[in-house]
C-alpha cells in the first residue's frame, strides 16, 4: 500500500469515526485505547496498575476502561505465573513504569492515597516501592 493511499484511507476512517461520534472507538481500532483515554482526560493511571475513570464518566468511557483493564489483568496474570509473583505485584510494578513513562503533563494519575491528580511539568512523585 503506498503512502498516499494510506493517507486517504486513514483520513476517510477518521471522518467516518468522527461523524459517527465514535472517535474513541476509532482509537480502539488503532490500538491506542489506553493512550486515547489518558490524553482525553476521561481516564487516568492508578497505582494498582489499572486505568481508572476520572469523575463519573460516560457509559462509553467506562466500558472502554473496563475493556482495557480486562486485557491488563490477563497480561498481569500471565506474567505473574511466569515469574512466580503475585498478580498485584506485577500490576503495581507496571503502574510505577506507567507513571514514569506514559502519563504526560496534564494527564491524570492516582497514587495509593486515592486522590486523582493532574500531572504538571514535573515527573510524578512515585511511591517509595517503585524504586
Amino acid at each position: 500500500m503506498n503512502r498516499r493511499l494510506k493517507l486517504i484511507l486513514s483520513a476517510a476512517i477518521a471522518v467516518a469515526a468522527t461523524t459517527a461520534g465514535a472517535g474513541a472507538s476509532y482509537a480502539m481500532l488503532q490500538g491506542d485505547a489506553a493512550a486515547a483515554l489518558r490524553s482525553g482526560g476521561q481516564a487516568g493511571e492508578q497505582a494498582d496498575g489499572y486505568l481508572g475513570v476520572v469523575g463519573s464518566g460516560s457509559a462509553d468511557v467506562r466500558s472502554q476502561v473496563d475493556a482495557v483493564n480486562i486485557k491488563r489483568r490477563a497480561y498481569y496474570t500471565d506474567l505473574a505465573a511466569k515469574r512466580g509473583a503475585k498478580i498485584e505485584e506485577v500490576a503495581a510494578t507496571t503502574a510505577c513504569e506507567l507513571f514514569r513513562t506514559k502519563v504526560a503533563p496534564g494527564q491524570y494519575y492516582r497514587l495509593p492515597d486515592g486522590v486523582w491528580r493532574q500531572r504538571d511539568s514535573a515527573p510524578i512523585p512515585l511511591p517509595g516501592y517503585c524504586g
Binding site: Q46, A85, E88, T94, L98, G114, P127, Y129, G131
Partner: protein, 77 residues
C-alpha cells in the same frame, strides 16, 4: 382442555374455567418475576483499594518484564 370438560359437565362453568385457565397462564409469569434477582445501582461509588503491598525488591525483579510488556502492548498500556 379443562375448560371444555367443565363446559360439558356444567354449561355455566365456562366463565369460571376461563378465569382459572387465565390464572394458570399467568402463573409462570408471576413465578418468573418472583424469582428475578433485583439489581439496584449502588448509591455510593465503588471504592477502589489502592493499598499497595509490595516490596521494592519485587518491583526491581519484575521491572524489565514489565517494561517489555508495556512496549509490546501499546493499546493496553
Amino acid at each position: 382442555m379443562r375448560a371444555a370438560i367443565l363446559t360439558r359437565l356444567r354449561p355455566g362453568a365456562t366463565q369460571g374455567a376461563m378465569r382459572w385457565s387465565r390464572l394458570l397462564l399467568a402463573a409462570p409469569v408471576l413465578l418468573g418475576s418472583a424469582g428475578c434477582v433485583q439489581v439496584a445501582a449502588p448509591d455510593k461509588p465503588i471504592e477502589i483499594n489502592l493499598n499497595i503491598n509490595i516490596r521494592q525488591e519485587v518491583v526491581v525483579r519484575l521491572q524489565q518484564d514489565v517494561k517489555e510488556l508495556i512496549d509490546k502492548n501499546p493499546g493496553v498500556f
